[in-house]
């Protein structure tokens, strides 16, 4: 009996030790530096969880996140239950709507709390009014936000308010930025970066993030000037 108690005591301490390793594990945390943007042209856009910025968001209905508008179809079929889909309105620094983006996302299959964190893959179409269109493929690690805000809020069952800034970029480019592929307009044919920076200001344990601002940076290589192209030829 005493042997069993000693073994169980060791087991529980071992589990607690492993949990501490996972909690403080630097491999799955947020890297100290955001991805370095390429030398070229960058543009910033803003959006948030407010209905004015995110007019449509849908998922299986089993998540904590709000769905809107009220009558939007749920993604209830078992084959698409892991997905969420949304439409964002992109605003410039003055708050003017300058484009729109569609984002479809799912938890990544190679999520690994020990080495990579909790990963979310998303694919985007970004349309900038009268300017151009691009695809973006992005991977983000949401574990630091879950660890610092969501899990404590769920555990205490109390809403959180404050300010947390995070840049969860985790690929798929080697510099950890998302990959931007130009489709048309001034972005046609360009291969660039997309990085999402977030500012979380309120979290409700019942419905998840309630005040979340997104600041997206699109960066593309400097287009070659016509003179330098003809000189090179």
């Amino acid at each position: 009996m005493k042997s069993l108690v000693v073994f169980l005591a060791g087991l529980m301490i071992g589990v607690a030790l492993a949990a501490a390793i996972l909690w403080f594990n630097p491999l799955s945390g947020e890297p100290r530096h955001a991805p370095v943007l390429m030398h070229g042209v960058s543009a910033d856009f803003h959006a948030s969880l407010r209905a004015e910025d995110l007019p449509m968001l849908t998922h299986s209905g089993a998540r904590r996140l709000v769905m809107r508008p009220e009558s939007v179809p749920e993604l209830w079929e078992s084959t698409i239950e892991p997905l969420d889909a949304g439409m964002l309105l992109l605003r410039d620094a003055d708050g003017q709507v300058v484009g729109t983006a569609s984002r479809i996302a799912a938890a990544a299959r190679d999520t690994d709390l020990l080495q990579r964190g909790i990963l979310v893959d998303s694919s985007w179409i970004i349309s900038l009014d009268g300017v151009g269109m691009a695809f973006a493929v992005q991977r983000e690690n949401v574990w630091p936000m879950l660890r610092e805000i969501a899990l404590p809020a769920w555990f205490r069952r109390e809403p959180w308010q404050g300010e947390m800034r995070f840049t969860p970029a985790a690929g798929p480019r080697e510099d950890r930025a998302g990959r931007l592929l130009g489709i048309a307009g001034v972005l046609a044919g360009l291969d660039g970066q997309m990085v999402g920076n977030y500012r979380l200001r309120a979290f409700d344990p019942a419905i998840g993030p309630t005040v979340l601002e997104w600041h997206g940076v699109l960066s593309v290589p400097q287009p070659e000037a016509p003179d330098s192209v003809s000189a090179a030829r």
């Binding site: 000693v6 892991p82 479809i104």
Partner: protein
């Protein structure tokens, strides 16, 4: 006896610590459903696959056209008045050729440089996303509906087929631009064909959209 107790404690500690770490690492916590893909493989290792959207039941979102054809959906979708008049955004549930829902698709179209450009993201959980782009043939769906004298608020029954892909590859096919996971290194081409059988009084098209892809693994 004390040595045996210590050994048991250390054994328990190791079991607990390594067991949890192994559980976290080895178990697939995220395991998306992966329906059987209906793919035909060609001798050149290309793959043909058809995706289908049934209208109106597979519509998730339609930002609508100013004319009311197609209409905005859902009806309670609120967009800023007058914003982004040249952009059209649609989201759909996506089916395989057998009619099973296998993913979600987003479609954008925008008039730029005197032609209309369209782009699709087809997201299939368990397989990844496929990115498609093309230039619109003709004036797009709204122009075709107007050409047939359809008016918002007036239902219409009939049949017509509209292949909407033109360029960027020969024979009026759009271009596959890769994607994520299994499609990350794929190129190829596709066609987008709308087979409509009517438009209801609310401006909702009825029929199917077929996306036929020919994907090839890029070196």
């Amino acid at each position: 006896m004390r040595g045996f107790t210590r050994l048991l404690f250390i054994l328990g500690l190791l079991c607990g610590c390594l067991g949890l770490l192994a559980l976290v690492t080895l178990v697939d916590w995220v395991d998306h459903p992966r329906p059987r893909a209906h793919v035909s493989v060609l001798p050149n290792e290309g793959a043909l696959e058809q995706f289908v959207i049934r209208l109106p039941r597979d519509r998730i979102l339609d930002s609508g056209h100013a004319s009311g054809l197609p209409s905005r959906y859902p009806a309670d979708l609120v967009l800023p008045a007058g914003a982004l008049p040249d952009l059209h955004v649609e989201h759909f549930k996506l089916r395989d050729r057998e009619g099973e829902v296998i993913g979600v698709a987003a479609r954008h179209s925008q008039r730029l440089d005197a032609s209309t450009h369209a782009a699709w993201v087809l997201y299939l959980p368990g397989r990844g996303s496929l990115l498609l782009q093309h230039s619109e043939a003709g004036g797009g769906l709204n122009a075709e509906l107007v050409r047939r004298n359809l008016r918002a608020g007036t239902p219409w029954d009939g049949e017509f087929t509209l292949q909407r892909t033109a360029g960027a590859t020969p024979a009026g096919r759009g271009q596959v631009r890769g994607g994520s996971q299994e499609f990350a290194r794929h190129g190829g081409s596709y066609t987008e064909t709308w087979r409509l059988t009517g438009v209801d009084a609310e401006g909702r098209p009825r029929g199917t959209i077929e996306i036929d892809t020919l994907t090839v693994l890029q070196p």
